[in-house]
Every structure is written in structure tokens, then in C-alpha cells.
Point group: C2
């Protein structure tokens, strides 16, 4: 029932990979964790033995229900700690990942439930990602990638797909943050860049690469 930090890092990574792909490959985990494929195979045998995943050699693998539940518990801790670091200790959002990567492995249900209450049971972390509750339930996020957002509709930036400080400084230069109102005004086929209006006034150009990392939800009230 208690897992090592190494096991937890694998579980979390596999969970995130299978959200997109369904089935996960040895190499994709190795790449994500910056380790060797051989190490991944070793760990897969262990996690299979502990009945956290479905795995047949050479056939790929995925977490079963027990594995998914475990993963959501780790993700819950990671995102609550990130929220604590940003909201309470005034870290910037690009400074929290490494520390949360350690804090997520602290074993204490009492700790994480008290932290959750202290933070006011937040629904989203500083990057706009949903925080699972103690039962593993997450608010569903009807977010759309900015590249797929219709023209002239006002939405709200609700999450960013990267946590690099390079991206943070670019966003802050363009006066974009989580919660900013945004509408796509024009699409330029040549370089796939778009022109957007921020908070109903500022017009800025956004590269295709940046747009791929921004997620928007439609405003549920008139702009």
C-alpha cells in the first residue's frame, strides 16, 4: 500500500501518458522520466506484481483502476503543494515544479487533507490544472486549445501546457496570465500565427508554438 518515490514517479507518468494514448509504450515512459528503457521494463514487472497495471511483454501496458486511483492521489498532492507554494509562499509558477516533485511523495493523509482545507479546497492549481479531491474526482475542464478556438469569441485563459520559465517570461511580456480574457481576431496562414485581443483591448501576435500551449474556455457570461 505505501509506494516508494520511484514507483510513484512511474505511476504518475504512466497515468499522464495513457490519458492521451490509451496504451503506453516502454520508450515513451523512458523518455518522459529520462531513464533507460531497461529500467522501465524492470519497474513494469514490479508494478504488475503489485497489481497496478495490465502488462504483457512487447504488447504495451496501462494502469488498471487501482493504478489510476493511486496516480490521482499523487497528482492531488502535487497540485495542492504547487498551490500552496504559489498562493501562500509566493513562489512564481515556474519555480514550483521541482519542489512539488519532492513534496508529492510525503506520506500522510492527515497532512494533505489539512493542507487542502487550509488552501480552501482549491479546484485548480496555479497552471490551471484540475486538482482531484480525496476520492479521486476531478472537475471536468471544458478547455479548448487556443489553436482550435473560433474567431471573435471571448474566452478565458485557463491553463498552460508548459511550466518553463521561458514561456512564463514570454506570457508576462504579452500581458497574458491565467484568467485573462482572450479572443482570436485573425489567423495568418503563412506562419500559422494568430492575432489575439487580451482583456478586450490589447492586440498581440501569438506564434503557433505558443498557441499550442495555451488552453481557453468559453466565457459563460456575455463579454
Amino acid at each position: 500500500m505505501p509506494f516508494t518515490a520511484a514507483e510513484e514517479n512511474y505511476i504518475k507518468t504512466i497515468f499522464q501518458l495513457q490519458l492521451n494514448e490509451g496504451m503506453v509504450s516502454t520508450n515513451s515512459v523512458a523518455t518522459a522520466l529520462e531513464t533507460s528503457a531497461a529500467s522501465v521494463t524492470d519497474m513494469l514487472k514490479k508494478l504488475k506484481l503489485k497489481k497496478l497495471l495490465v502488462y504483457e511483454k512487447y504488447k504495451g501496458f496501462k494502469l488498471n483502476n487501482e493504478g489510476k486511483k493511486t496516480a490521482l492521489g499523487i497528482i492531488r498532492k502535487h497540485r495542492l503543494w504547487e498551490t500552496f507554494l504559489v498562493n501562500i509562499l509566493h513562489f512564481k509558477w515556474d519555480e514550483v515544479h521541482e519542489v512539488a516533485e519532492q513534496l508529492e511523495h510525503i506520506q500522510s493523509n492527515q497532512l494533505i487533507d489539512h493542507l487542502d482545507d487550509f488552501l480552501g479546497n482549491p479546484q485548480f492549481d496555479p497552471h490551471g490544472d484540475p486538482i482531484p479531491d480525496s476520492a479521486g474526482k476531478m472537475p471536468i475542464l471544458s478547455q479548448i486549445n487556443l489553436t482550435k478556438f473560433p474567431l471573435h469569441v471571448v474566452g478565458e485563459i485557463c491553463s498552460v501546457g508548459s511550466q518553463s520559465s521561458d514561456m512564463l517570461s514570454l506570457l508576462s511580456h504579452k500581458h497574458i496570465e491565467i484568467g485573462s480574457k482572450i479572443s482570436v481576431e485573425q489567423y495568418f496562414a503563412f506562419d500559422e500565427s494568430i492575432e489575439v485581443k487580451i482583456n478586450n483591448k490589447l492586440l498581440v501576435n501569438i506564434s503557433a508554438k505558443l498557441a499550442q500551449h495555451l488552453y481557453v474556455k468559453k466565457m459563460n457570461y456575455a463579454s
Copy 2:
């Protein structure tokens, strides 16, 4: 420069043992960490190699300046986290030790300095123990064990030498907490128990064993 959690636990334990004894023995560390003497010897070789302690086989050992500095850093983290757990997350003082034992190993200077500021740079932890600052300096605590406190002098409970919940419940039953005013009114030679007055009104009897775990400082103002 970064140490493993196992190394840090040894360093902290040796520091605390050498505060009393000066020189530390293999067995005393083994007992404190509930491990085998052989494991202690193994670790001593490693810590000597890393130049944290003075050690000659069969002769005992002690931390050098680098080792002491490292120990104080770990103790700082441990006590700041305990303060956070009690003051902010409303843990009871007998519930924090195990979690702080994990949290003390999180590696991030930024984290611990921000936490320190957020807590208001506290000088003492919930058990009354002094918290080293980021340079390793600790407030000197002129505390006296209750068994050595003179008769009829009013003092203040400032620290407890144990964190067991058995002790906590006993203290709360006697209406004693950190900050309580206390004076020793009578000494009973038969069982070495003492009668004390709490907050200038309540008379209670304290066993020799309990008194050994209570530390008192003289009030610097008139009672």
C-alpha cells in the same frame, strides 16, 4: 553537498547525541535510530569520507564543524515544519513528529526560507525547542529541568523532552502547557514526586518521571 535522507538522519542523530556526551558511540546511534551497530559502522565510513566527522575505529566519533552546520540545517527544517503543522494546519504537538521526519529531507533553500518568513521567523518550535536561523545560529535557551528548579520560584514551562501522546494527554489532564506558569511547592523524598502550582492557582502532583521531561525558565518579570 546534497545528502540522502538516510545520511541526514544519521547526521541529525549524532549531533543530538554529542550535545550531551561530546563523543558518540556506535551503539548509542544504533539504539537511537533503531538499526544495527553494523549499519552504523557502514554509514560512519561514508560520513568520514564526506568529511563530516572525526572518526577512528573503536575510538568513537563526533561531527566536525561542517557536520554540525549540516545538522543544524536539518534541525532548522524539522522545527520549522513542525511549527507550520501546528500553527497553520492545526496539528496537535504529538502528531507532527513523523511527518516532520519526512519533510525535513525536502531539498530547497528557497522553500525553507519562504516558509520561515511566512511563519514570521519563529524562534521556538511547538515543543519549545529553539529553531536555528539560516546561518545556523540558535537562540540560547536558559532552561532548567523541573527536577532542579528551586522551591517557591515562579517559572514558565518552555519545553518538553518528549513528544509522546501519552505525555500530552497527561499534561493536558493536569492543565499544563507550554507557557504555563509553574512553581514547585513541595518535594516528596519517598517517590521523588513534587507538588507544583500551575498559573498561580491549581496545585497538582507531578511524578519524578514526568518532571524529568519538563523544562522551565525563570520568569524575567515579577510573578
